[in-house]
Subunit: 227 residues, 2 copies
DNA sequence: TTACGATCCGGACCGAGGTCCGTTTAATTT
DNA sequence: AAATTAAACGGACCTCGGTCCGGATCGTAA
């Protein structure tokens, strides 16, 4: 498991250990302790049923139709159980996205080049952005609905993993820049809300966004003019 | 009035005319029609009392204490009146920010250089970012609380005004780039949620963010290397 | 197999955002 | 001044996210 996304490990009796939270995060909690708390049999069963029910509701009524009560009812489970398992609505929605996100994460961490290791950093950065754009384009609706409140947005494991990756590549590409800030800037370009605005509300084609990403990476990683 | 921010003009019987919504927005609805719908006397009075009450609640209990019912009660007004006037909670919160935002807007539209007209575009861009960072730093909490849902975030008048300004400067600075996308990228750096994360959760000093902005502007507007 | 404690379940309950509609009131017309 | 009408008012009402805790269930150890 690459990172924990549901609340199974974040709620009592397994409270997540406090993380540093500074500008240089511990990349990804990778293979490090307490991954699968090994739910009790009934809990695991209910978790699966809940995710299944939620996915069905999304398919039928869109993300807006995913009401905590509706999910509970569809899974034939008490409402409290949903919250116990996923913490809140955002947690449930993120759990739905979890599978794809982990595939993506595996791809850029250890997949084939140029997305994975082996290619020069700038090229990996380019590939990363295009892959992220594609992922955002699929189930955009779900990604928007799963957006956490502003002060948690940057603390969510998937986001941290992506950020850490971009940061690493940026450090290789432009070693003497303020890579933390540049990484956040690049991440901003990939924000689902922005993708949604540009593609759905401004009718920009994805190719333009991809080209824009290439251009942005080029500008950000370019050697500075002496002037 | 530079732009309409409350719902007075956006709710029946004065529905806002549909706007184009494409990538090249009509800068700012500037002095153009239907600015002050001239509320009825009682409505105007209640609006003032509501804003007053809301501001008091923010001062006393923080943004989280601004409950629609609490505001209504404090203003001695029915709950429905609050919604009629401001549309929703976000609308009310944005109305609270409106005054300062308009001052800012006036400053970069027609104030003294380098923020206002007169300085070269790159210099104005630098000044704009620093001013925006300062504005975000003041009442960050309110700005976070006033963040609209993802699919409205880019349609809110203040945001459009800022975006339009950055876009214009960028077009002057780098005429043959995809300035729409670059402008959105720069705007992302100034997002309240990001400022909050960097300053409050990562403990970065504001000076670093300002320096980062200067660097970002330099990279984005730099002449491209022939390589 | 029984007993026991940790974990989980369920649904009543609460608070807050948002809607609705019958009533009231301000502006305008006659 | 009276009548008229568009707009504003108010608060009951609904939905939904989130909490709580008594009771049921699972895993384990004897």
């Amino acid at each position: 498991m690459l990172y924990a996304v549901d609340m199974s490990t974040a709620l009592p009796p397994c409270p997540q250990p406090e993380e540093p939270l500074d500008g240089t995060p511990v990349l990804v909690p990778f293979g490090t302790g307490a991954e699968e708390p090994c739910l009790r049999a009934d809990a695991a069963r209910n978790r699966a049923r809940l995710l299944d029910a939620a996915a069905r509701l999304v398919a039928e009524h869109g993300a807006a139709g995913v009401t905590m009560e509706a999910v509970a009812a569809a899974a034939k489970v008490g409402k409290g159980t949903v919250f116990r398992r996923f913490g809140d609505r955002t947690g449930l929605l993120m759990a739905l996205l979890d599978h794809e996100e982990k595939k993506f994460q595996a791809a850029f961490l250890s997949g084939p080049a140029p997305l994975g290791p082996g290619a020069p950093p700038v090229e990996r950065l380019r590939a990363f952005g295009c892959a992220a754009l594609r992922r955002a384009a699929d189930d955009l609706e779900l990604q928007l609905a799963a957006e956490p409140c502003p002060d948690r947005r940057f603390l969510v494991p998937p986001r941290r993993a992506r950020y850490g990756h971009v940061l690493m590549l940026l450090r290789q590409a432009v070693p003497d820049a303020d890579c933390e800030l540049l990484a956040q800037t690049l991440m901003g370009y990939l924000e689902p809300a922005l993708i949604h605005h540009l593609t759905r509300q401004c009718n920009m084609p994805m190719e333009r966004l991809q080209h824009g990403w290439h251009d942005l990476v080029a500008r950000v990683t370019a050697a500075r003019q002496p002037a």
